[in-house]
Amino acid sequence: MQVFKLFMKILKKKLLLSAACVASFLALCIITTVTNSSEKTFTDTKIDICIFDEDNTPESQALVDYIAARHNIKEIENDRQAITDALFYSRIDYALTINKGYAQKLADGETEGMFTDRHLSESYGTAYMNNFLEEYVSCINTCIAGGESLASAIDTTGKVLSEGTDVVMISKPQGSGLSDGNGYFRYLAYFMPAVMISSLSPVLMTLNKSEVRFRTNCSTIRPVSAAFQIFAGSTVFVASVWLLFITAGVFLKGEFYSGNDWWCVLNSLLFSVISALIALLVAMLMPKSDMLMLVANVICLGMSFLCGVFVPMELLSDSVKRAGQFLPAYWYTMVNEMINGTAVFDKIKLVSYIGIEAAFVAAFAAVALLLFKLKFSSVRQS
């Protein structure tokens, strides 16, 4: 039990970070649920932003208007020092410059160098703004690719993004807001890996610090027993986070899960296990913990975008979808969309998607075991 207790003690110290993740997740969920998510998605996370439109074309003006409609625009002098000060004193969260040539690039389908942004912290708001801009541009590109003119593409994009998923849904979600396309289960695909990488990975890395592992290897504790205790600790943690998530879901929904909701519950359990395994692999492959938050962001945001977590699947291009298939969150989202009615419900497909997630679990676990054998056996060759 020594190692298990140690695991919990260290976890307690590292939990602050993931507690912030969980809190922001729950806050977001409460907001989206209360406003009954068939409306807009993110309007409630307003950020303070200043925009410098250096392109000054109708296209750039459209973007400025669009942002202005949903966020608080602040006037700041366009001066490096003034912007830095404003960011530092939190007068603004985000400074966006629309670079000259924006409209041209948009028309040409280029995406590089359209914007220059400055922000201090990696808050949810700033991450959201980055995503939003990407999403906005890719949506316009998609429309153009679909044969629309630039002006009408901008128009369509504005509508699509501001009216949320309604526009593109195959059928409207029925019933509760919880299993809704914009809802609770969908964002788990982003937050669960984030929580796991920000808390479980550092714990595992601390436990495996080479100096202390040396001591452990010299002691009389059996390596199998130590590994098992760490496994038990991780399981308890994953189970707790998942149960918290499921329980909070009941409260938000106001009623117990029923019918097809249970597929979402099972789906989320599988995905929680996958997230924990991702955190384990990160812990094994990262040499140092100082890059951890960056890695967490890259993995979570990257996977979310490729797998339609923030954007409904319908809006994703085929190549993105094809790439997404190699990621577990894709299948997780597919299951959710099937349950909430965004996609057609098909039990055989549903079960096969869940089977694919289970295959991810097996594959990740196998890789982890192999790495463990290679890197962490108590007797070294050199």
Binding site: Q2, K9, I10, V212, F214, R215, T220, S378, S382
Partner: protein, 316 residues
């Protein structure tokens, strides 16, 4: 008859092309403070790692407490304590929690463990710091915590691998005293270092290592007898005529005399009262002199004589 605690026979360890340990033999008896002295890269740490079964080796035999050592020889491991050069503690645990955790890897029983932890804390003098986190401890205190974590389970054999590297002299002395105390309490000690002063100060028997081989072994005095030089006498003087230099060179037991920069240096081999006899010659010639001192050979001289190079040439 003293019992043999550690027996290493014919140990060979290769890292690819590099032969880190070259047919090493060591025998360590109960109650010894055994020193492994050698320059960096001579294979001390590799020896320790092989001894602890943390590292595979190519050839050889290792027995501890008369039983063959292996990664799963837990009945041997339970009586070994290890203290390494790098501080190995958890920053997330307090001083007491750290000692308790590492002790708990050996001792399950709660009451017995509490007693052991208390004694370890007292032994290293960290009573006032039990609730501190390692980050809040000074370098010296951190070392003491590191030691406490290694010895709380009352090992009969304690391995220390350069525990005093980058430690200030005061803490270093404390650590050395502590090691002697552990030895007095009954533990056999293996101590590796590239500081010959330390090894001379505490070790009852010393093996000098170079390039993975044991090049000499014995007590401090035995080792020093291996070199020709027994004492080096230095006399500061303003002037020394060549004739007197000649006379000094003729003296029995004096095998080398030089005079440079106002310093007469005479290397002697055996004989008694060499210092007095040299001063007599100087007085007879009516020569005045300043400071006079005589030095015993060091382990560095031993190393120098056997390998032709200094024990520490680059660092320090």
């Amino acid at each position: 008859m003293e019992q043999t605690v550690v027996k290493i026979e014919n140990l060979v360890k290769r890292y690819n092309d590099l032969i880190a340990l070259d047919h090493l033999d060591l025998t360590i008896k109960e109650g010894e403070v055994y020193g492994l002295l050698g320059p960096n890269g001579s294979g001390k740490t590799t020896t320790m790692n092989c001894l602890l079964s943390l590292l595979t080796f190519d050839k050889g035999n290792i027995e501890i407490f008369g039983k063959p050592m292996s990664p799963t020889a837990y009945d041997i491991k339970k009586d070994i304590g290890v203290i390494m050069q790098n501080v190995a503690v958890y920053d997330e645990l307090t001083v007491r929690e750290n000692i308790d955790y590492f002790c708990g890897l050996y001792i399950r029983d709660k009451q017995e463990r509490r007693r052991c932890v208390d004694e370890a804390i007292e032994f290293v003098g960290l009573e006032d710091f039990t609730k501190f986190y390692p980050k809040k401890l000074s370098g010296g205190l951190l070392r003491r915590l590191n030691i406490a974590c290694g010895i709380a389970h009352k090992p009969k054999l304690i391995l220390l691998d350069e525990p005093t590297v980058a430690v200030d002299p005061q803490s270093r002395n404390k650590i050395l005293e502590g090691i002697l105390q552990l030895n007095k309490n009954g533990a056999t000690i293996i101590y590796t270092s590239h500081y010959m002063e330390e090894v001379e100060q505490i070790c009852t028997r010393i093996a000098i290592m170079d390039k993975g081989r044991k090049i000499a072994e014995g007590t401090k005095d035995e080792l020093k007898h291996m070199v020709k030089n027994t004492d080096t006498i230095t006399v500061e003087m303003n002037d020394l005529p060549d004739s007197v230099l000649g006379q000094l060179k003729e003296m029995p037991h004096v095998y080398s005399v030089t005079y440079e920069d106002g310093k007469l240096v005479a290397a002697c081999s055996g004989g008694k009262h060499n210092l007095i006899r040299i001063l007599e010659v100087l007085q007879k010639n009516d020569l005045s002199f300043g400071r006079v001192y005589s030095e015993q050979p060091t382990l560095n001289d031993v190393f120098l004589e056997i390998t032709g190079k200094a024990l520490r040439d680059k660092e320090d």
